[in-house]
Each structure stands twice: as C-alpha cells, then as structure tokens.
Symmetry: C2
Subunit: 445 residues, 2 copies
C-alpha cells in the first residue's frame, strides 16, 4: 500500500481539486480523499496530477526521422519514402533498443500507455524471423523496460496500394494474406501480461483489400480486441477508394463490419458528412494526431463535428515529430480555431479526457485514465511553477495544463502504483543518451 | 575581450558549422573562426549556437492571461475584453515588475531583443502620470533588468474604433490627438541607450484616423525610426475599413505614406492580392505571430506569398500564450502546410533568419542577428542532447532546432558579450518565482 498526496488533482470535473490523497495497493487506486493534509508517509506530488495519459497512435521508429525529414520540399508521399528507408534499417535488436528509448521519452512526457500501430513484422524481403513475432515482442519488451502499459496493435498490411504489389520495403510488412496475418497475430497472446494487451489494425483501405478487412474485423470481434485503422489522412486515399469501390474509406470499413465501439479511426481528416454520421452513431473513437497532421500537410480534421455526432476523440503522437500530449491536446482546439475562427470548441476538460480516459478506452484499458477507486494506479504530475506554467490560478489549472504546459513540465509519473519518472528523470533509462546512441547507430551522424 | 567556443554555430548558411570560436570585445563580435579547437580560456557552448533571437511583437502584460482566457467560448473580440480587464490593473510599478519577469522568460527562451508594442500610456481615465512616459520607462527598465535589448514601439491609439470614442480602458491608451502623441513620444529619447531604442506604432486603422496615421509616419520618418502597425488580424477590421474609406487597411496605410523598408505590418492575416504586392514592392517586414493567431482564431496568413512578393518575415510572441521562438518559427511552416497541403515552403534557415536577422532589422537593430565580425555579440545556445533534440545529425541541426527544439532546450544566452542565461537559469532573476508573485498579485489566485 502506497500513498500519494497531490497539491491539485483532476478528478474528472471542470476544475482541479486541492489536497487530494491517492492511496494505492498493487496496481490499483484504493482510495481518493479530497481536501486532506499530506500524511507523513505520502509521496508529495507538486502542481497538478492527472490520470496517466494514453498515446493512442504511435509508430515508435518514426522517432529517427525527427528533424531529418524537414529538409527540402515534398508531400506526405515523399516523406513516406524517407520513412521506408528508416524502416529498412531495423531488426528485432535495434528495434527493441530504439523503442525502449522512445517509450522512455513518452514516459518523461507523462504518457503511461502506448498504442503501437505495428506493421514492421518481417525480415529483409519479407522473410519471417525465426520467431515470426520477434519484432512485436521487441516492442512489448521495450514498453516493459520503460515502465509503460502497451497495446500492441498488430497491423495487417498486404499490398502497396489498391491493386499494387508491395514494394521491397513493404514486403517486410506483409504476411501475404489475411489468414496468415491472423495466424501470426493469434500467436501474440503469449505476449499478453498485466501491462500488455494485443489489438488489431487494418493499415488502411490502401494496404488491405475488403475481404481481408473482414477477416481482421472478425479476428478482433472474436477476441473483443480493439481494432484500429488509418482513415482518410490524405485526399488521394479517398479518391482511389471511391474509384475502386465506389465508397469512401469510412463507408467501405462500415460495409465490412469494422465500425463499432471497439474501433478507432486514426486521423479521419478528410471525411464526407455521411462518414461523420457513421462514426458518431457507431460510437467509434477518432484518434487525432494533430502535430503529425501539421507536419505531413494532411489538413485539419473535423474534430468538432465528429464529437458532436457522438464519436470519442483520442490523441496520438504518431510520427513522433514531437512527443508532447499537451501539445497534441491544445492543437485540436487551436487548429479548430484556425478553421472555424471561433474559440472554445473543445474545452480543457474535454481535451484532457481525450488524452486520458478516451485514449485508454480506445486501447482496451477501460480501467485506466481516471483517478478513481478501483482504477489502475497510473498518474502524471506536472509542475505549475515553471516559467511556462507560473501564474496559473487554481480555478484554471486545467486550462494552464492544456494550453501552456509542455512535456518538459512533467515531473513525476506513476504506473501500477510505482514511480517510473521522478523529478523529470526516468528511474531506469538515460533516455536522451539512449536516443542519441541508437539513432546515431541507425541513421549515422 | 571574451571567447566563446561553439560545438556548432549557425553562420547564416544552409547548415551549421562545427567548432566555431567567437571572440568578443565590449558589445561586439571581433572574430569568428570555424574549425578550431576550444581554447582553454573560452566558454564552451554545447549544442547549437544561433544569433540572439528578436521577438518582433510583444505585449508584455498579456502574459497574465496565459491559461486564464481558455475557459468558455468566444472570439478575438471577447478575448479583448479580458485583456482590457488585465490592463486596467497596471501602474508603472506593477508594470515594471511584470515586464521584468516576462522579459526574463523571454531571455530563458533565447530572445535577446524585444519589440514592445506599447499603448498602455496613462493612468485611470486617461490622466497622464507625473512623468507622462512612466509606463514606457517601466518597460525599458524591465528590459534592462532582464538583460534584453528593447525597441519601445510607442503606439498611437486614439479611438475605440472607426468613428467610436475610446471606452474607459481605451482612454488610458489615448493621447487625445496625434500631435500630443508625437510630443510625448519625442520625450522618449531620454530613454535611449546602447540597449534601448525608440520606434513608433500605429495601433491599427481602427484606433487611428488617416490624418493621424500621417502624423505618426512623418514622426518616424524624421527620426528614421521603425514603424509598426497591427494590420488585418481579423476580417472585421477589413470590412470596417473598406466601408469607411473604400480601402483595405494595407491600401490605406500605403496611401498615407506608411509602407517602406522601416515598416512592419503585424499579423497581415487577411490580405487582398494587391496588399501582398504592396508589401513586397515596398520591402516591408511582416511580423507573423502564429501561436497568437492560432489562439485568437485569426486564421492563417499568406506567409509564402508575402515572402515571394519580396516582404521579409519576422516573428513575435505577441500575446505570450507561449514564449517560444522555435514554436513560432515552425508554426509558420506547419500552418502553411495545413493551408497548402505541401511541405517545405519555408525551410529551416529562412525561418531562423525570420527569428534573428529579420526581426532585428524590423526593430532597427541592423547590426544584430548574425554571427559576424562587427555585429553585436548577442547569441543563444540550445542543447542537442535533450529528449526532444537527441538524435539530430550535424547536417540537419538547423532543422532540429526549428522543428524539434523548444524554449526549454536553451541553455546559454549572451547579450553584448555578457552571459545573461547560464545552464538554463537567468543570472539575475528568479523568473518563475517573479512571474508567480506578480501575476498572483495582479490577478488573484
């Protein structure tokens, strides 16, 4: 049994609550008391304590591209060539070391749970490793090293585009057909643990044919596993899908039984009105990745309309251009302001819910993302006395967190009741040094 | 004579240069040697050293609003009411203490020169203080305390809108008429020093009538002082200006002799094609404040078209929603990506020029903003070994600075050859503590 006392904590309402004692036993919160003094045995958490944040869409290896893909001009599609070149460098050992450092960076940013959208399955030319899940195992081990909860979203990726064979790099992503994907994915159950779960993903309607989409959806339904897919990040995908199938990507996924409360559409940037309605009535999650959507020139998705239709918003760092959930959260609202010319479509509590409870739900961790009795004891504390956050008021502490704070303000992070980040340092990993070492090795200086 | 040795320094080209020795004498750079080892007497600057950054548009007192104005819905105009309420709290003493802390935050972010767009001139009801420039003097003193160079852009503000008398708050901004403004502004010359200069500003075509705009422009021309104005931040301003004068704000300013190489248009978000041409052919600066323009739901300005027409881009933190010039710099390109769906309209060197040389030029400091012999010895070093920047390569260090770094990565800042920030701490001011204290006093907790 442990005790953590928070100067301020967000218990789910419109404002933060002062002097909150969180008691934990094992991996669970066993008591929440507001307005009490700090007992001598408690760890004192300064500033504002939030539920641990869920990064609902991650490609860990994209971290090697940060900064390096900002030279010259281009598009999403030219960026993708650079991303493929980075992917080509990786094997289970280097992937493990890279992901461990990247997940360490996430921990330092207050992320306690990551959804890894994983499609780099096989060796050169598509030859499976001796353990066909060696790459997925590397990611799960990396999350364990960093102290993070993980949902490994094992991704079906079968073709280079509609009617296009996979190219050399893409062959490493492909299991050949959906039943082979399902067989390999089924073997992932050995990786499940109290901190790791398995979900499924359809890479996109570009990379998976409709019949195979049905196979993946059925696999996920049978296990009540979460299911994710990239949807309509670029207009070109919509055009190709409509030309091939006469349906938008969303309508195609709906037709093939994908859309329900276990489904998360990632990006959903370029949607038809009917698509928005489908997500809303199906109770889907929409994972927005606004810093990536800025970086890749995707555009601004219809966050407000999706929410108003009934969809749940979650957030992901995706390409790791930055790893900062506060920046992702405020970017949803700030980009909405640019598009709508109105302030306040998404308030701070709703953006914090996207970063915490909604993200966890979309990754299948319904027992995480809230500071409540019986919930998983995952939480994140940020300083309100840095130059960025100083001057906040108690009644607007949530607004300061979302609109003024950054990853650098996170000081303590707890997962399963155990401290994984203390005073801004990871307790086990020298994150910056490991990032520099493994990225230097993979990409050269 | 002092010596600073930089692991990497940006000398103005497309990439950074390794092992650069900067020698200084008094306030000037006296030698720049590349590819030399670190002499024993030199201060060793890790990571990447840039010219000091110029924050070309600041309203220091808006810092009290950070976080607090993010509750509820609204527009630029409802936000302005909250901003006016904050302004009403200030007197020369509290303004000095607030600005000193805010400029301290800027120093920590690597800003070495601030353009303060200053219109809070008078006491309650518009009654001048005993020293009619007491508020401006408070700002200049605050910059001195923080070690920053300042251009005080003394702002003419005469009316509440086109044909509208100033309201209670706005009376504090008004000198009554343009000649009275000019008389008071002329007395500011006593505040000039090696680190402080005086410029002029027309608040906007809303707040200054055309004849008075001519007076301000003539005053600035006579002194070869820089001249700034808010232009077309909101569409409503354009509509009102066209209705009243049959001209866009830009065309009106051009007609009244404002547009030349000493002029900076701030925001320039909603421009006609002809406006863009006018700024280009006149060689004006355009100060974009993209984090504020996001925050206030202004929209995305035509940065690329302005640059292609021949205008110089500079950057400002404006409302202090964040104080981070790296975030401002990348936001120009990232918001351009959202609008154009193309990557790479503004490359890292051009964005760094906006943050350094262009900003200084627009504030009248042509001898600052470049690491070159004879230039002012102002520079900023940032770490390339934090979790945000680790993994950068030497050849893409500029891209990492612009697209991955943040204010928290700045470790050393030098102005006039003297260190004002060392290892991320201000050498004279406990910035976070002073911010908390003065904002708490002004706004209450």
């Amino acid at each position: 049994m442990k005790a953590y006392w928070c100067e301020l904590a967000w218990l789910g309402g419109d404002t933060a609550t002062a002097d909150v004692l969180l008691q934990t036993s094992g991996d669970r919160i066993t008591a929440v008391h507001a307005g009490v003094p700090c007992p001598p045995e408690a760890v004192r958490l300064r500033g504002l304590t939030l539920p641990g944040m869920a990064n609902a869409h991650s490609h860990a290896f994209h971290r090697v591209l940060r900064g390096r893909t900002q030279v010259g001009t281009g598009s999403f599609w030219t960026w993708r060539e650079q991303m493929y070149a980075a992917a080509a460098q990786l094997n289970p050992d280097s992937y493990h070391r890279l992901a461990r450092a990247v997940y360490g960076e996430m921990a330092l940013a207050g992320i306690t749970c990551v959804g890894e959208f994983h499609y780099l399955h096989h060796g050169a030319g598509g030859t499976p490793y001796a353990d066909p899940n060696a790459m997925g195992a590397a990611l799960v081990a990396a999350a364990g090293d960093a102290g993070l909860r993980i949902t490994l979203l094992d991704t079906c990726y079968l073709r280079g585009g509609i009617g296009v064979e996979p190219n050399e790099t893409q062959r490493r992503f492909s299991d050949g057909d959906a039943l082979s994907w399902a067989a390999r994915a089924s073997a992932l159950s050995s990786l499940e643990s109290p901190t790791s779960r398995i979900g499924a993903a359809v890479h996109s309607v570009r990379a998976v044919d409709p019949a195979s989409i049905e196979v993946v959806a059925a696999w996920a339904a049978q296990r009540t596993a979460v299911l994710h897919a990239h949807v309509s990040e670029q207009k070109a995908e919509n055009e190709q899908c409509i030309e091939a199938y006469g349906l938008t990507p969303t309508a195609l996924l709906a037709e093939r039984g994908v859309l329900d409360a276990r489904f998360t559409a990632v990006h959903a940037t370029h949607l038809a009105v009917a698509d928005i309605g489908l997500y809303g009535t199906s109770g889907c999650s929409i994972c927005m990745c606004p810093t990536t959507e800025r970086d890749l020139a995707d555009g601004i998705g219809p966050a407000m309309q999706l929410r108003d239709a009934g969809a749940r918003l979650s957030l992901g760092t995706d390409s790791q251009a930055v790893i900062d959930m506060f920046e992702e959260a405020r970017a949803v609202e700030l980009d909405e302001r640019l598009a709508s010319r109105v302030r306040g479509s998404h308030d701070a509590p709703s953006l914090l819910r996207a970063a915490t409870r909604n993200g966890h739900a979309g990754l299948g961790w319904h027992e995480a993302g809230s500071l409540q009795v019986g919930g998983l004891a995952d939480f994140t504390s940020l300083r309100l006395d840095t130059v960025r956050t100083a001057g906040t008021s108690m009644v607007t502490a949530l607004e300061s967190a979302v609109f003024a704070a950054g990853a650098a303000d996170v000081h303590h992070v707890v997962v399963d009741g155990e401290i994984i980040v203390a005073d801004g340092r990871h307790v086990r990993i020298d994150v910056a040094a490991e990032l520099a070492s493994v990225i230097g090795e993979l990409m050269g200086q």
